[in-house]
């Protein structure tokens, strides 16, 4: 690399040495600041200060570029020799995150002091982010002047990433994620933030109905003595009751009757649909090895009724497991303080947005399962999201460019610095 450097004529004096020194200094300074601050969580100022800081940052970047476009530092910051060490420095921090479990209590004093369990909110992470933004900003400006359509792919990839880093870094503080517990037919207008603080919302939400659509339940063999599921080669043998007959190990199971929602009446189960009802099945179990045949009911059980298992022999029984949810959804009625009234149904992967807030379905009373009268909602406000999305879409188009045009021929300059 050094001979390559010497080949160049003076103007660009940045080599990997400078690039590495700057990156290393940033990391060291970051960790020193982190240690000096006693390992606290770093928080940047919220709106409008973060927006102001962002605008000043972009303004300074443009000013520096316009005033000294040929200065060796500006040229150096816009080169691969600065970019590679910076990428590696950032990768180093992310690698730490890949090995040290995040968002848990630090295990020892060093981990705590350096903030290794919450790296995203530490000085080194912030500083290296800032440095990457400077590099991406400079190189984007460099490629924009003079404008050339050939640089489109380059612009999409680099400016897209700049925008994502810029808006996520500055916007993280303005993002609010709250939890709201909604009980059926009780309008709720308060939510709780992660620290447990109660926050009043600009609307109230009434849970009209919570419902769960379930998969068919699975059956398995349990050990009579321990009550545990019998494992075969270390794995549970589970069979979903969605056919008339199937086998588990040496048992052949024939399903005589299956009731989606049922309750016990005397010795048998009948179809009912009331709180606490659950699936049941009448089965006949054959075992060809000992030529035994047993018939009876199995019931998955619910919060209010115990499960019923079918004893096959002295050692084993057949049991029905509680059904797993296929989807769960909440029918909501939302009344805003501005007078709007909206009815909607949300489910996982289908949130609903109103007045700058997005409402997500997250949980319910899992003990009660489909009879839960509680729906746990997450309310998210993320005013910087449009910028993050813009960055993401630019990068997607950039990726499409890479795919279509491939590697620039003979050191061409379409994509990278």
């Amino acid at each position: 690399m050094s001979n390559e450097e010497s080949r160049k004529t003076g103007a660009n004096r940045w080599s990997y040495r400078e690039g590495t020194i700057v990156t290393a200094a940033i990391l060291l300074l970051g960790f020193a600041l982190q240690a000096a601050s006693g390992g606290t969580v770093l928080r940047i100022a919220g709106f409008p200060w973060n927006l102001l800081a962002g605008l000043v940052f972009v303004g300074l970047l443009i000013l520096v570029f316009v005033l000294w476009p040929k200065h060796s530092i500006v040229k150096g910051l816009g080169s691969v020799k600065a970019a590679l060490p910076a990428i590696l420095g950032f990768t180093f921090l992310v690698l730490l995150m890949g090995f040290v479990k995040q968002d848990v209590e630090p295990k020892n004093a060093v981990v705590e002091l350096l903030g290794l369990t919450h790296l995203v909110k530490t000085w080194p992470f912030m500083l290296i982010n800032l440095y990457l933004m400077i590099l991406l900003g400079i190189i984007t400006l460099k490629r924009l002047t003079p404008f050339n359509f050939k640089n489109a792919g380059f612009f999409l990839n680099h400016f897209g990433l700049f925008l994502v880093l810029f808006s996520t870094t500055l916007g993280s503080i303005d993002m609010q994620r709250l939890t709201m517990n909604c009980y059926e037919n009780q309008p709720e207008s308060h939510a709780v933030d992660p620290s447990g603080k109660m926050i009043e919302m600009p609307f109230s939400i009434k849970l009209v109905n919570f419902s769960i659509d379930e998969f068919r339940p699975k059956v398995t063999i349990v050990d009579n003595k321990s009550g545990q599921i019998v494992l075969s080669k270390g794995k549970a043998q589970l069979e979903m009751i969605d056919r008339d007959s199937f086998s588990i190990s040496s048992y052949h199971i024939k399903v005589e009757q299956f009731l989606e929602s049922s309750g016990k009446a005397g010795d048998l189960y009948t179809a009912i649909n009331e709180s606490g009802s659950a699936p049941s099945a009448k089965v006949t179990v054959n075992n060809p090895t000992d030529k035994s045949e047993i018939s009876g009911w199995i019931f998955s059980g619910s919060y209010s009724h115990p499960p019923e298992i079918l004893q096959l022999n002295e050692s084993f029984s057949l049991a029905m497991l509680p059904p797993e949810p296929r989807k769960f959804s909440s029918e909501l009625n939302i009344q805003t303080k501005t007078g709007k009234n909206r009815s909607t149904t949300i489910e996982v992967n289908r949130p609903y947005s109103i007045e700058g807030w997005t409402i997500y379905q997250t949980n319910y009373n899992t003990q009660m399962g489909r009879w839960s009268n509680l729906s746990v909602l997450e309310l998210v406000r993320d005013p910087w999201l449009p910028f993050v999305y813009l960055g993401i879409f630019l990068m997607m188009f950039g990726a499409a460019f890479l795919f279509i045009t491939g590697k620039p021929k003979n050191g061409g300059t379409e994509h990278v610095a």
């Binding site: 690399m1 390559e4 691969v80 020799k81 970019a83 590679l84 990428i87 590696l88 990768t91 992310v94 690698l95 995150m97 890949g98 090995f99 040290v100 479990k101 995203v120 993002m175 994620r177 998969f215 794995k235 043998q237 589970l238 069979e239 979903m240 056919r243 199937f246 086998s247 797993e324 949810p325 296929r326 989807k327 769960f328 489910e347 996982v348 992967n349 949130p351 997005t358 997500y360 997250t362 997450e378 998210v380 999201l385 993050v388 993401i392 990068m395 997607m396 950039g398 990726a399 499409a400 460019f401 890479l402 795919f403 491939g406 590697k407 620039p408 050191g411 994509h415 990278v416 610095a417």
Partner: protein
């Protein structure tokens, strides 16, 4: 078990594919004749087709996309790897590359035959999203591309062609990396958009996300390095080999890392 019944047919399809690929590799490596090469290409395609039939039937039977368990993703990997090998042969005529790809695809088939896993029919609500299929397909395609590029890298490192003859192979590595990297980026971004819908945030530094990001960064290093140092072939190939090691950690090593407990991405078995 119906699903297991489906997988009972797997050895049949897998052996058919295996025999086709073995014959194809043998022909590619031994013959110089055009006719035999065409036959080899045909056999290579036939092997992939057997697996495509199997995965289609499987998909219909389990009523969910077969992209969740490690065994299922290995199946896709074998399909894409063999497919990419063939396409790259048709386009660039690298016979050794198609043989390598087929060899690696065969390894995945053997792993699946040795470790038939219990397959789960249920899909948790968070995974039921229109993003699921594009996210996984794009990722597997990216992994297969980058896997193939690392084969090129290893060949260039250990069976060192001279500086004169390396030009072709290194261009091939670059092509594969560019294609793979664009898919890797798309997979990452699709994942972010999906996460926003499912969990309310586009990026939570879940261990799988963290490692996917690390992988992305390593290939980013390769691309920038190659751009600036077009003639440092060996070093570039070393970067590519290391990148693939990171990719492998991301793909299944994450499951064993202490930092990854409770990750939504840990594949079920």
């Amino acid at each position: 078990m119906e699903e297991q019944n489906m997988w009972l047919d797997f050895p049949m399809y897998a052996s058919a594919a295996f025999v086709c690929w073995l014959a194809a590799s043998g022909l590619f490596l031994s013959s110089g004749k055009k006719m035999l090469n065409q036959l080899a290409a045909g056999l290579s395609f036939a092997g992939t087709a057997f697996l495509l039939v199997f995965i289609t039937v499987l998909w219909i039977h389990i009523q969910r996309p077969p992209m969740r368990t490690l065994g299922e993703t290995r199946l896709w990997y074998a399909i894409f790897l063999s497919g990419i090998g063939l396409v790259s042969y048709l386009r660039w005529k690298y016979k050794w590359l198609v043989s390598y790809s087929l060899g690696l695809a065969m390894v995945f088939l053997i792993i699946n035959l040795q470790h038939p896993e219990t397959y789960d029919k249920t899909l948790m609500p968070a995974l039921q999203s229109p993003w699921f299929i594009p996210h996984v397909i794009v990722y597997i395609f990216a992994y297969a591309m980058l896997g193939a590029s690392s084969l090129v890298a290893l060949r260039n490192l250990f069976f060192a062609p001279t500086e004169k003859t390396i030009k072709g192979p290194i261009q091939m590595a670059d092509n594969l990396v560019y294609l793979g990297f664009s898919f890797l980026t798309l997979g990452l971004l699709f994942g972010a958009l999906w996460a926003k819908d499912a969990w309310g945030h586009y990026w939570t530094w879940d261990p799988k996300e963290t490692w996917a990001f690390i992988t992305w960064m390593f290939y980013l290093v390769y691309i920038h390095y190659r751009f600036r140092h077009a003639n440092e072939h060996k070093k570039a190939m070393a970067v590519l080999a290391v990148s693939f090691a990171v990719l492998l950690i991301c793909w299944f090593g994450v499951n064993y890392l202490p930092s990854a407990e409770n990750s939504v991405h840990v594949y079920s078995e």
